[in-house]
């Protein structure tokens, strides 16, 4: 079982206030903006299975898998995330 499922990936997208900008054959490419600039993007796999693995997302949003899961499951907010990635020089 993947750490980040499609269900959680969609939660992350919602939480980060991201938007799907492009669609490919296999993915919806979602991007996240901060102060008018794109700071991260990741692919969300096409398919109806809720348990589709999206374990590639944590590294694309500069988080550890456990942190990404927390982001999806509530305790971590978008502001917390911005703070974390600012410290990493990604903003």
């Amino acid at each position: 079982m993947a750490i980040i499922t499609k269900e959680l990936a969609l939660e992350i997208l919602k939480k980060l206030k991201g938007k799907v900008e492009r669609q490919t054959k296999r993915h919806d490419i979602a991007s996240v903006y901060h102060e008018g600039k794109m700071i991260a993007h990741f692919g969300i796999r096409r398919g109806s299975r809720k348990d589709l693995g999206h374990d590639h997302i944590p590294e694309q949003i500069f988080l550890r898998p456990r942190e990404a899961r927390l982001l999806a499951q509530c305790p971590l907010t978008r502001e917390d995330w911005i703070k974390i990635i600012s410290e990493k020089g990604k903003v």
Partner: protein, 181 residues
């Protein structure tokens, strides 16, 4: 003490020389009861040696079989662990084509595919783009798909729309891929 009880300890004692004038065993028409007991005990003493030998042989055969099956089990476990390690170890794949996408590779690049929680994650580390799949090949196909999608998306953006990460990604991607003419 009865005579019968005395006889029981005879096999464990050194045999005394018969007194002179006493008949030898083979000379007796009828072997007395105590003497018959002594004979049986002697036969047993001989037989027990053989039995111990047989038991020892059986035991060593059994031990050998036990050791052999133990080694077989250990070998099987090692084989399983080796194949599991082979599955878990990341593999490096050189991407030379983005087919069927209408893009070509200017400079081949490496993708790393690794197992993560029963899923495969393929990553192009130079640009920090990854994709997941249920199999290695699916993860790779997904990676190619995401690379192309990200490249198209980033190419359409103005410089001031991109943060530091995406700006660098676009620059690096331009070194590796371009749209087919």
């Amino acid at each position: 003490m009865t005579q019968f009880e005395q006889i029981d300890i005879i096999p464990f004692q050194m045999e005394e020389e018969p007194e002179a004038g006493w008949p030898q065993l083979w000379e007796c028409a009828e072997v007395t009861k105590p003497m018959r007991k002594k004979l049986i005990a002697e036969e047993w003493a001989e037989k027990i040696g053989g039995l111990i030998e047989t038991f020892k042989e059986g035991l060593s055969e059994r031990l050998y079989e036990e050791r052999f099956s133990f080694l077989q089990r250990e070998l099987e476990l090692l084989k399983q662990r080796c194949s599991r390690l082979e599955e878990l170890s990341p593999i490096l794949i050189t991407i030379q084509s983005l087919a069927p996408e209408p893009y070509e590779v200017i400079k081949p690049f490496h993708a790393v595919v690794r197992v993560q929680d029963q899923q495969y994650v393929a990553t192009f580390f130079d640009v920090n783009i990854s994709a997941s799949g249920d199999t290695q090949s699916e993860a790779l196909l997904n990676l190619k798909d995401v690379i192309v999608g990200a490249f198209e998306m980033l190419s359409m953006k103005d410089e001031d729309e991109l943060g530091p990460g995406p700006t660098q990604q676009r620059q690096v991607l331009q070194e590796f891929i371009c749209r087919k003419r």
